[in-house]
């Protein structure tokens, strides 16, 4: 690892200025569970590392009349254990599926939402892939068992966060702080596909940071669930995951929202499946139709066709479990 300058920002406002000063080349470091690994592998060789843990004002969980506010550097474990957060549908349970207890102790909510992809070509210093400014996606003709079946184009990463799909179905938004102030953006609009820009996963400008996540009170009025399928139960990213929220009356779903992890370069809004299911009485037949509609245009690579079946099955299971809540 290269030697670097370790910068302690005074407050959150100073962070965008520091980032601007170093032209966005300084590395943000909060829990470090992702950043440290990238530094060790040599994917990032920063001259400056900004210690976000020093910004204590970003570590909080607070509820107000509008909803739940969670600071970006709040450790994931605190969200799991928070009595208040536990009242926001499947949020806490989704956070609990992240990695392992050790990593949840260190990892932060902001870090989880802004983490870089796990694609082994991206993570390896041997491959100068398109996401690192190269020309090709090595997954296309390489080992692509874990890659995207939806939304891929020049790059086939899958977005790894467990928390993002759940938050999106709960209509959460993120507060983005830049040098000129802050703005709120629906989390759904935060992530971008490779066709927009294959070198980044979200809309953050080089001198912007996420400071807060806001979950509206409406999350308490719906049922929601996050279902994660791991190849290895002990510790794994999602092979495929499904987050669902809806108002349930009998076997009927309304206000349905579905977001999926592990299938696309962004948390994937299953809008076609929603069209089939929303407002209708759920049956096995309808669930099958919903899955087929959503995966109709899936483009599996050589080794990940199984994800189509897996996604359909998990979608069916997630809705089934939601109805049983």
């Amino acid at each position: 690892m290269k030697e670097f300058q370790y910068i302690y920002p005074k407050n959150s406002q100073s962070v965008p200025l520091i980032l601007g000063e170093y032209n966005g080349k300084a590395l943000l470091y909060a829990g470090g569970t992702d950043a440290l690994a990238r530094m060790k592998e040599g994917i990032n060789r920063p001259e400056q590392v900004v210690n976000l843990k020093a910004v204590e004002e970003l570590n909080y969980i607070k509820e107000d009349s509008d909803g739940l506010n969670i600071g970006a550097t709040t450790p994931l474990v605190d969200i799991v254990n928070s009595k208040v957060a536990q009242t926001y549908g499947g949020l806490s349970r989704a956070v609990e599926t992240v990695a392992t207890i050790q990593l949840r102790n260190m990892g932060t909510l902001g870090g989880n939402l802004c983490q870089r992809p796990r694609c082994w070509y991206f993570r390896s210093r041997h491959f100068h892939c398109i996401r690192k400014g190269g020309d090709v996606c090595f997954a296309v003709s390489g080992n692509n068992k874990y890659h995207a079946i939806l939304g891929g184009s020049s790059c086939y990463i899958v977005y790894p966060s467990d928390v993002a799909p759940m938050l999106i179905t709960l209509q959460a938004s993120v507060e983005i702080l830049g040098p000129k102030g802050s703005r709120m953006v629906p989390l759904e609009d935060f992530y971008i596909l490779p066709k927009v820009d294959p070198t980044r996963e979200n809309i953050l400008q080089p001198d912007e940071i996420v400071t807060r996540v806001f979950v509206p009170k409406s999350a308490k009025q719906v049922k929601s669930i996050y279902l994660k399928f791991r190849e290895r139960d002990s510790f794994d990213f999602a092979m495929v995951s499904v987050a669902v929220s809806a108002k349930v009356s009998g076997n009927k779903l309304s206000d349905l929202k579905i977001a999926m992890g592990g299938v696309a370069p962004v948390p994937w809004r299953a809008k076609k499946a929603k069209m089939v299911l929303n407002g209708n009485t759920v049956s096995d037949e309808l669930l099958k139709k919903a899955g087929e509609a959503e995966l109709e245009n899936a483009e599996p690579l050589e080794q990940n066709e199984y994800k189509i079946t897996l996604t359909k099955n998990l979608l069916k299971r997630a809705v089934g479990e939601l109805l049983a809540l």
């Binding site: 690892m1 290269k2 030697e3 040599g42 796990r118 082994w120 070509y121 993570r123 390896s124 041997h126 491959f127 090595f138 003709s141 390489g142 080992n143 068992k145 399928f229 190849e231 290895r232 139960d233 002990s234 510790f235 794994d236 092979m239 080794q303 990940n304 066709e305 199984y306 994800k307 079946t309 897996l310 099955n313 998990l314 069916k316 299971r317």
Partner: protein
């Protein structure tokens, strides 16, 4: 020489007792090579090839040698690299960080050569050659025949033919490979995470052309090896050369990625098998065409036909070279590969015959011990509750499978040990074995304590140094059957010397002295001395050396395992829920560590069959999953309920049990999955994607 006491008369042997170094290990007091530091010590790192095959045209190290903190550089290691991760250059620096940064400053000009990383492709006539001085990529071949295989198939009522692909597994010991080398005058000291202090001493002495008694290899504690730390590797030589050049100690520990690439693996195996049997299940013929790769190394053969008796068989095998790191022995080399294919095809055969898989095995297994183990295991497991393959409805289906194994595991007759009894009553035992995590240190002490009728804590076991009496490498399940008899004999000799001293004191003949439970008494009952008092009679320590002898150990073990799995048909997820092992290893020296070791073997089987997979990128030759995130091994949630029974054959003496438990479950897990979903598997690892596609394929067909 006397034999082992009767099982019931022993305090330690045959019983369970905790490790003597357990508290040191769990508190961190135990120092592994990784933990050691010496004054002035430098950190070595190896620059490794990014290419699967290339000639090194030049290495420009000018920007390395000028780096502050860099103390030694090696650029003359080799001129051709054969796999991604092969040695190119090396550096020793004051800190690990400097050494790592230094690696980025080498400028290497390569002439990139064509390469091959797929066995099938490597075998073709026009494949790129791994070694330019060879005609092709075929290494050693084996042909074995017994009886008349054509006739055997003619006699068969049922014939099954299948091809099995078994992927490469990597050892992944908890402590990665590494050593510290210090030259003192013309003597070489090496602290090494090794399975063979004596083997490394010989190899280093030969390589550096110095007398063996000027090489000292030390391995106090080491974090596992599974066969990948059995001998000298290139990093040992590099480290010693760096230390020589820098004239200070150099520590060179590999990182996890290097472990994946450069220090061994379990070879792949592709086995095309034809098997024939009569209607009643009697096996008539076996034919195998196999190939496999150990990268640029050899040894991908399989001991087929495995376990079951075939009057006629024909086996041919080819080792294939590819541009990947060389294989190394890994826990029961060749056996798990053989087991997977054999047990898989036996289950298919049983299905075709309409026979119970256990019945088919009992009918064709010539081993008397295993015949009994099958019955014990089947009863404990509830084999009679096994359902017809694929017959269950619902999301979660259960499956049962079984498999068998065998191993040799005898002792090494050259083993020597030295037991010392001191005038203050202290006792130690010196033997140049090493504890690779299996409890060797503990059993060395226990055998002496047993023989001297002392407490375990009264005996200091001194192991892990090549300066101690010779013992073999910890491999092939030979450690316990080598060291237990030897240490016992040395302790017996030392005890007899003390008896002679006491007899002298009492002016009686030694046969008039009875020793029991730390007390010496004269036969007439007139005199008595405690252990302590007897030792105080010594003017100098008793120091007795003995050599291994026959009669206290044996070779040859059986073993079988029964496995239950649950398969989630909607996700393809496999959960191994129960594993039952019935094993034998003669006289069990420590029941606790033996069962630990068997359980470890079973965990390894779960990883091998359901997760572990060394991938190589076809376009670049690079291993994309050379890390513990993407190369998956089982964790706590993957653990089934274990139930291990030791089949008592204590009268045979001590036999090794390292490899045997890593074999039977391999085919058993595969067969349990097949039983659950009603589809067989021909490729490892059996991961959720494959299970899901198999279920889909089956449902598509029906």
């Amino acid at each position: 020489m006397t034999g082992w006491k009767k099982l019931n008369d022993m305090t330690y042997l045959g019983k369970s007792y905790t490790r003597v170094d357990g508290p040191d290990k769990v508190t961190g007091r135990a120092k592994y090579t990784y933990d050691l530091k010496f004054p002035g010590m430098l950190y070595g790192r190896i620059l490794r090839s990014p290419h699967p095959h290339a000639k090194i045209i030049s290495i420009d190290a000018s920007r390395v040698v000028n780096m502050p903190g860099v103390k030694a550089v090696l650029t003359d290691i080799k001129d051709e690299v054969f796999f991604v991760g092969d040695d190119v250059a090396a550096v020793a620096a004051e800190t690990e960080e400097i050494a790592n940064e230094a690696l980025l400053r080498f400028k290497v000009e390569y002439q990139v050569l064509p390469f091959t990383v797929r066995e099938e492709q490597a075998m073709l006539d026009d494949a790129p050659k791994v070694f330019s001085n060879r005609d092709n990529n075929i290494g050693s071949t084996q042909d074995r025949t017994e009886g008349d295989v054509e006739k055997g198939f003619q006699e068969a009522d049922v014939v099954v033919e299948q091809t099995y692909h078994i992927n490469v597994q990597v050892h992944n010991p908890l402590e990665v490979h590494g050593c510290i080398v210090k030259w003192q005058d013309d003597e070489l000291y090496m602290w090494d995470s090794t399975q063979a202090v004596h083997g490394e001493r010989s190899a280093m002495a030969r390589h550096f052309k110095i007398p063996e008694n000027k090489v000292h290899v030390i391995s106090h504690h080491m974090g596992g090896g599974f066969g990948s730390k059995l001998g000298m590797k290139s990093f040992h030589i590099i480290c010693a050369n760096l230390a020589k050049k820098a004239a200070v100690p150099v520590k060179l520990m590999l990182d996890r990625e290097e472990q994946f690439l450069a220090v061994g693996n379990r070879p792949s195996s592709i086995q095309k098998i034809k098997i024939g049997a009569k209607k009643d299940g009697t096996l008539t013929a076996f034919q195998l065409d196999s190939f496999g790769t150990a990268g640029i190394g050899g040894g991908a053969g399989v001991p087929q036909p495995y376990i079951y008796q075939f009057p006629n068989y024909k086996v041919n095998h080819k080792d294939v070279f590819i541009n990947a790191g060389a294989g190394a022995p890994m826990r029961a080399p060749g056996h798990p590969q053989a087991n997977f294919a054999m047990e898989s095809i036996m289950d298919e055969l049983a299905e075709k015959l309409g026979m119970d898989p256990l019945e088919l095995r009992i009918k064709n297994d010539p081993n008397k011990t295993r015949q009994q183990e099958y019955l014990i295991g089947a009863k404990q497991f509830g084999w009679d509750k096994r359902l017809k393959s694929g017959s269950q409805k619902g999301k979660i289906v259960k499956g049962m499978g079984l498999g068998s194994g065998r191993w040799s595991g005898g002792g090494n007759r050259e083993t020597k040990a030295n037991v010392n009894i001191y005038p203050d009553g202290a006792v130690d035992v010196k033997i140049g074995t090493q504890d690779i995590g299996t409890g060797a240190r503990t059993i060395v002490a226990a055998v002496v304590a047993e023989e001297l009728e002392l407490d375990l804590k009264d005996v200091l076991p001194l192991i892990g140094k090549s300066d101690y009496p010779w013992a073999p490498a910890s491999g092939g399940s030979t450690t316990t059957p080598s060291i237990s008899p030897t240490v016992k004999l040395a302790a017996e000799k030392a005890k007899n010397s003390l008896i002679v001293r006491v007899a002298d004191e009492w002016k009686v003949t030694p046969d008039q002295v009875i020793y029991s439970k730390k007390t010496f008494t004269s036969k007439d009952g007139a005199q008595s001395l405690s252990w302590q008092e007897a030792c105080e009679l010594l003017r100098a320590p008793i120091s007795e050396m003995e050599k291994w002898n026959e009669g206290l150990s044996d070779s040859g073990t059986a073993g079988c395992q029964f496995v239950e799995v649950e398969v989630d048909k909607e996700t393809g997820h496999v959960k191994v829920t129960r594993m039952i092992g019935v094993h034998d290893c003669g006289l069990v020296v420590n029941m606790l560590t033996t069962k630990n070791q068997i359980q470890g073997g079973m965990i390894g089987e779960i990883g091998y069959v359901t997760m572990e997979n060394r991938l190589l990128d076809a376009d670049t030759g690079i291993m994309p999953n050379a890390d513990m995130e993407n190369y998956k091994i089982p964790g706590a949630l993957e653990m089934p309920d274990f139930n291990i029974t030791m089949f008592d054959e204590s009268e045979r003496g001590v036999i090794g049990v390292g490899e045997p438990p890593a074999i039977p479950g391999v085919g058993a897990i595969a067969n349990a999955i097949a039983n659950a979903i009603g589809a067989h598997f021909y490729e490892t690892p059996i991961t959720p994607d494959k299970v899901l596609m198999a279920i889909q394929g089956k449902e598509g067909k029906s």
